[in-house]
Symmetry: C2
Subunit: 129 residues, 2 copies
Amino acid sequence: MNILDQLKFDSQGLIAAIAQDENSGAVLMMAWMNKESLRVTIETRRATYWSRSRKKLWAKGEESGNIQEVRSVYVDCDGDAVLLKVHQVGGAACHTGHRSCFYREVVDAGKGFKESGEILFNPDNVYRK
Amino acid sequence: MNILDQLKFDSQGLIAAIAQDENSGAVLMMAWMNKESLRVTIETRRATYWSRSRKKLWAKGEESGNIQEVRSVYVDCDGDAVLLKVHQVGGAACHTGHRSCFYREVVDAGKGFKESGEILFNPDNVYRK
């Protein structure tokens, strides 16, 4: 038995993956995994997603160094989402430098955003142009 | 301007929605929203999803009474996921009675699950047959 065979990947072979900071409980990001990326994540204990835009495995932090060390993996009741509890190296999960990708709060009854949360790095210093 | 027009709904008109307990920080569930369900959620401050199986709006708790009172809504950096911080009435988000739908931890290098977390109600007493 392997849990990978019990999950419900969608028509594109993907499942939603949520990364949560193991200490603060902050939801850091949501990305996608195919079966292979989840297998690699479980095996290596480093979060590896599927990049829908680049159509390839995406080892989180491969460019920025901000890898996610996976402490535990949970599967939801209907098997179509996984939750990773991680140690976020560098503190910031988002490519904008924010700690969490969910840094825009919906305000004013849906008419606007309010940005919040720490910015931990300058993307210009981290990513190649 | 309305933030609904800035989000990236997928080819089926859906976006991933994560519900997090505002106090404990526990990730309670992941479900789907279409534009209308997100609009209703923002307007009513009660989590309303899109049921892919029933193909209709699904006001969380409409049957069980375990509604989610939405305290805040966040959008991620690339606009394809939302995070709801909620007060979970009744304490349990999962139809199994578990506090969180993510109650199965992947163990033994992916060969099995270990169930964890509190069970707060007996589904037989809550849902119609």
